[in-house]
């Protein structure tokens, strides 16, 4: 298995045969234009696509999915799959897995000081984390532009800006891109960047799996965007069969794209879960683990275990459209319910994949900005694990009116409502930590408080949706849409931006502009609520999701939502301006610990050395002792006396 390949960075043995990857090693170690990087990955994708398409036509020549259409889904699938393979090969992801078949050992990666390392296949978790940030932002803004298109169409109750088919394609693309992005928005950037630092590790357990997860994630972006060039797909992000089986070639991009992203999700979750379990520094007991790491652990478990079901469902869908099996076609011995079960069995853990890391981020930031220990730490950790476990038992609440297992509805109503108890723990933690605190309204704290405001509305409406009688009224309407935007965008995306403002100084050594940050926050917060709150009412008044025509009397509310959405979109332009300004145009050096945090990640030198810690730290306390003037030392970093210049003053 290629995934079992820990990099022995600390092995002190002689390294002559050790670094030798043969011809692939020479590829990996070359630098400059002739090496492997993003550019060769793109070339690999294109060549792989062409090869796969040709191959598909060879093995299934003359066979077209739809008679006379010239549409050959075998060729399309082959093209996309080999495109992904070519992408990975071009990036250099396959060098070691191939060399390994000849019994070679992993090469020890040397630190690459050049900026080009950000465009390479690298096992450095800090570089991967930053690569992820730029990628998820690309995902987010692509999906955001599509959202602007949706709101443009909904300015008027009839079809006006786009044709109905185009509109459905935009809606589907928006939903899918955003869902793919949201699975990785925190675990990818912050999980990879911060977890090793927070647990005192010099690397993740499987650094190449970590890099693989990133390059698969980006390949998934190319695949899902290819849907637009195939004419889009009409099923929304849920991809309901048998519409899935009826749809045009763009559907292949959805199925293959989700499978590829799923591989990336599994790889990322696998690596982080193992890292947290095995690579903690001495003294870092479960009771001292930073709460963000707990949230990543719960999320990683969900990513690893729930995603295979999605990949299986997509795999069956791909077979339906290429080998002409009939899994989802009732008339041929299949079942349209099968997809709904498989999809939602993944789909509900998925939404907690999107909620938990957000909780982790705000719980991590609250003590810093209130100068208090985290309230009810154990409850918070237990809550995250409880949510993760329960999320496997709630999936049929998406199917209350579908006619599947109607007698099970009370049970799924119960499990769904039960999940609000561990979810509520985050409020216990938040409110308890605020009590008699010394709150500092720095920008990250603003985002954290906004999460509590938004997620409350999202969470409470979730209870409404879990109640079967109310669900009859609001299922599939804009009410649902508002609900999950309040939880995912109001929760996760707010936490993500809070996290960027909070950890940006650590990651880049630069401060983000405060004024622009405040403008960004307030615009985002106000217009987010103005965009999505009216949608609750729109949904209650009877507007189903994903429609291009709605009742005339709902136009005012829809227009409020649309105009607010444009301002919400504009707030991200402010963010991009701030981001680019602070990194590239006018960088301001950040102090080593600008928020005065006790977290282990802030105790490392800035910029963080390649191996994170010169000596493996020995953890001696949990990182939340803000209440004591002379807080116990968090960790013995074991740094020699020659490093006094880099020692960081913490905890006052």
């Amino acid at each position: 298995m290629s995934v079992i390949d820990a990099v022995p960075v600390t092995d002190s043995e002689p390294t002559e045969d050790y670094v030798n990857l043969g011809v692939f090693g020479r590829l990996t170690h070359r630098r400059g234009w002739l090496s492997q990087h993003l550019g060769t990955a793109v070339i690999g994708f294109v060549l792989g696509y062409l090869l796969g398409h040709w191959l598909g036509n060879v093995v299934a020549g003359g066979y077209s999915y739809v008679q006379n259409s010239g549409q050959n889904n075998v060729a399309d699938t082959g093209g996309l799959l080999l495109g992904v393979l070519g992408w990975l090969f071009g990036a250099g992801a396959l060098n070691y897995p191939i060399a390994k078949m000849m019994g070679r050992e992993p090469a020890e990666e040397r630190f690459d000081p050049s900026w080009t390392r950000y465009f390479r296949y690298t096992a450095d978790h800090k570089v991967v984390g930053l690569q992820y940030i730029f990628s998820v932002l690309t995902f987010l803004f692509t999906g955001g532009l599509l959202a602007m298109a949706i709101r443009t169409e909904l300015l008027s109750p009839t079809s006006h800006a786009f044709g109905p088919g185009t509109y459905i394609a935009i809606v589907s693309e928006h939903g899918t891109v955003m869902m793919m992005m949201a699975t990785s928005i925190v675990v990818g950037p912050f999980g990879n960047w911060l977890v090793p630092l927070m647990i005192g590790a010099r690397r993740t357990a499987f650094p190449r799996v970590e890099a693989f997860s990133f390059w698969t994630f980006t390949a998934g972006y190319l695949v899902i965007m290819s849907a637009l060039f195939y004419g889009g797909f009409p099923t929304g992000w849920t991809g309901y069969a048998p519409l899935q089986t009826q749809a045009g070639a763009g559907m292949m991009s959805y199925l293959v794209g989700f499978a590829v992203i799923g591989m990336g999700m599994m790889a990322a979750g696998f690596n982080l879960a193992v890292t947290i379990v095995t690579c903690r520094a001495p003294g870092l007991t479960w009771g001292r683990l930073p709460i963000f790491v707990w949230s990543v652990l719960a999320t990683a478990a969900l990513l690893t275990l729930a995603t295979p079901t999605l990949v299986a469902g997509g795999f069956l869908g791909i077979l339906d459209r290429t080998a002409q099996t009939a899994f989802y076609v009732n008339e041929h011995g299949g079942s349209s319910y099968l997809w709904q079960n498989l999809f939602w069995f993944f789909g509900h853990p998925e939404v907690y994949i999107m909620a938990l890391p957000g909780f982790g981020i705000v719980a991590e930031m609250l003590p810093v900005f209130t100068r208090k220990p985290l309230f009810a730490y154990k409850v918070a950790a237990a809550g995250m694990l409880g949510v993760a476990l329960l999320s496997f038992f709630v999936w049929q609440h998406h199917l209350f009116q579908s006619g599947i297992n109607p007698d099970m509805r009370p049970l799924f109503m119960l499990t769904t409502e039960l999940i609000s108890i561990p979810t509520g723990f985050i409020y216990l933690v938040g409110l308890g930590t605020l009590y008699k605190a010394k709150i500092r309204f720095e920008i990250p704290m603003l985002f954290a408080l906004a999460l509590f405001f938004n997620f409350l509305i999202g969470g409470v409406t979730g209870v409404f949706l879990s109640d079967v009688p109310v669900n009859v009224q609001v299922h599939g309407s804009f009410f649902v849409l508002a609900h999950f935007h309040y939880t995912i965008m109001g929760g996760l995306v707010f936490a993500f931006f809070g996290g960027i403002y909070y950890w940006f100084p650590k990651m880049t050594g630069k401060m983000m502009n405060k004024t622009l940050g405040k403008i960004h926050f307030w615009m985002m917060f106000i217009f987010f609520n103005l965009t999505f709150f009216p949608m609750f009412i729109i949904g209650l008044l009877g507007q189903p999701r994903r429609v291009f025509e709605y009742a005339q009397n709902l136009q005012t509310l829809n227009d409020i939502a649309s105009v607010s959405a444009f301002f919400l979109g504009a707030s991200f332009v402010v963010f991009v301006a701030n981001f680019v300004w602070s990194i590239f145009i006018n960088p301001v050096a950040a102090p080593p610990n600008p928020w005065d945090s006790l977290g282990l990640e802030w105790q490392t030198p800035s910029p963080v050395p390649y191996y994170n810690f010169e000596r493996i730290p020995v953890i001696m306390a949990d990182p939340y002792h803000y209440s004591e003037p002379n807080a116990p030392q968090l960790a013995d970093l074991g740094v020699g006396s020659d490093r006094t210049d880099e020692k960081v003053e913490v905890g006052k």
Binding site: K438, V463, G476
Partner: protein
Amino acid sequence: MTDTSTREPRHFARMFVLWLVVAGVADALFYTLAGPHVPPGTMTTSAKDNQFDFNVLLVIALPVLIAVWIYMGYAIVMWRSTRKGVAEPVGGAVARGNKGVQFAWIASTSTIVMGLFVFGTVALINGAGSGGGEGPNPVWSPNSKAPLQVQVIGQQWKFTYRYPSFGGFETTQLILPNNTTIEFHVTSLDVTHDFWAYQLGVKADANPQLDNVAYTTTRETGSVTVRCDELCGIWHGAMYNYGRVISPAAFEAWATATQRASVANTKLLPPYALTYVPDANGADGGLYPTNVDPYSASEVYGAKVAAS
């Protein structure tokens, strides 16, 4: 530690009083002013029950929302750091996790949740499925002896309706008699649709070759909006129509008249059945080849299809 010379205000008493007033007013205002107008209205038993259910949930939810907001607002105003730069640490008892508070929180949220579950289940069973699709063998059905059966057929991209008690005629209009228990049998000719009769408080997925039953009893006359609530392709947004609930006498007259008018076409329809799908193929052949027996992989996948 707080200075003993300055009296610490009783924060919780303040917040509690504020909460009691605001939550009480909000609940009372909502229930009396907005409550009766909450969608989907009271046209049927299921709509009325679901409206009541929604109102109960909101009356419980508002105080919870308000409690958190008041607490957060209070905290933001009262407990902000006044110092420039980093505040001094907060020590003492407030910095320790209070077990009693944790227990109270968990106990109260659990109580609310279990209460909601019991309430929802009772509402679901008493409401005979609350107007939701209950699959082919409904577990909860109304007491009515002779409900009016109406079959809802979803197809891309229109709902049509069959009335088996009137010779099984099929029409594009949904007309229902008042004060009658209706038994909807929802099915589809192609992909998955969802029959959402908004004012009736009825919602049920339409699946090919499957029967999905939903019950409701009409209480008031008026207009009904029917929309498709499950994405079904390009014209999903245009898949709606308007129906009416009318007096039983008027319904009888309409039904017999329509039965008579469409008798010629009704003869050509397949006999009434709970599922209703001729085949998965289009007008000119389907996705799945028909002549695959004896099966040969090369025949199916390698055969050149003649261009027409």
